[in-house]
Symmetry: C2
């Protein structure tokens, strides 16, 4: 398990590259949180944080990385990885146990968004990534709020996808063993919404009580 | 969101440190996948991979990192981060939207496990982390299988936990807005197990049809 440990290469078959790209975008849109990797003083750090996709660009809530960003005017070299766990693969052999998952790794330089219009659009994307339909209802950010938060932009140019799906792949010799084998599917389930304070007296919006994400069935 | 971006410090209150440690271990035991960050040629990489805890040690399926490990006899400097997403926090203000989560970051040098007994114990921990009770049923690894896989050990000495829980924290001035606010809880749900081939004729083990993880209610 794990994306390529080398920088992604251009594939030879453009139709395959396009398919891979669509699969990668689907993963980025379904997942909630990314793991942002960066180097500081030669030490790797991996920070879970919010992100959102807008076309061919990812926006990342930049506060966790802002300290490092200050020292890198040309942008901060990052690896942003997003992983969805789809199931557990129980093979007959202990050695062949695995996980079904979809993972996307994006390499590149994250740069700070300074243009106020782009920053506002990034905020909208971040809120809509958490909950589609929410931006129209929530109070919009004020200039001082925009200034108080850093947002980073990462272009989706260098991206790799890795997927494991399907049942166990036991060796031929193990198939006859009297050991149960198969997949336990896993998915994310939303619970009943918990209103905050006076919101209990307001109508619960459909985007809350029917909360769903791209890729959820 | 995101663990401290500086190396963890020793806390002043030992009882608080112990509480934090227990909370961190609970996160490590509940989650399935970690994100392993490492540096190669100055570039950060973040790899999703399997892991398991055994006392004060984490074992990591080392194949993804083995190329880098070969160049580091003293071990590979890593940041291993594990994140559980518990819910979505919808505030009245767009700016205050957030995620409830529990995240643990472990810094240290991952070293290759070469002792055959420890490696077998690490394999057991990895299989049991995926599914408690499974090791007793699955065919044990043979020496050639043990040799074919790298396992890394990472001591739980430098560890930080970050947790966000509870409802939205809107500013006082926003509390009167007629905007629904609250939390949408999220959790992982197991689906019905899918037997592989002839396993359909075998009794499904309780650890499959009652599959659960530490921390699941």
């Amino acid at each position: 398990m794990g994306p390529a440990s080398e920088r992604t290469r251009v594939r030879r078959h453009p139709e395959r590259a396009d398919y891979d790209r669509q699969a990668a975008l689907a993963v980025l849109d379904e997942a909630l949180v990314c793991h942002l990797g960066l180097v500081d003083g030669g030490v790797p750090y991996v920070i879970p944080t919010m992100y959102a996709r807008q076309g061919d660009v990812l926006y990342v809530h930049g506060s966790p990385a802002s300290r490092m960003l200050r020292t890198a005017a040309s942008g901060l070299e990052v690896c942003l990885t997003v992983t969805l766990v789809d199931g557990l693969v129980l093979a007959r052999a202990a050695f062949s146990h695995s996980t079904n998952y979809r993972a996307v790794g994006v390499l590149g330089r994250a740069v700070e968004v300074t243009d106020p219009e782009e920053k506002m659009a990034a905020f909208e994307a971040l809120v809509e990534h958490v909950c589609r339909g929410r931006w129209a209802d929530a109070r919009r950010p004020e200039p001082k709020e925009l200034n108080a938060t850093k947002v980073l932009r990462l272009d989706l140019t260098e991206m790799s996808t890795k997927v494991r799906a399907g049942g166990p792949r036991d060796q031929e010799a193990d198939l006859g063993l009297p050991v149960w084998a198969g997949v336990i599917p896993l998915r994310v389930l939303r619970g009943a919404a918990i209103p905050d304070g006076a919101a209990a007296d307001l109508t619960t919006p459909a985007y809350v009580f029917e909360y769903s994400r791209p890729g959820w069935s």
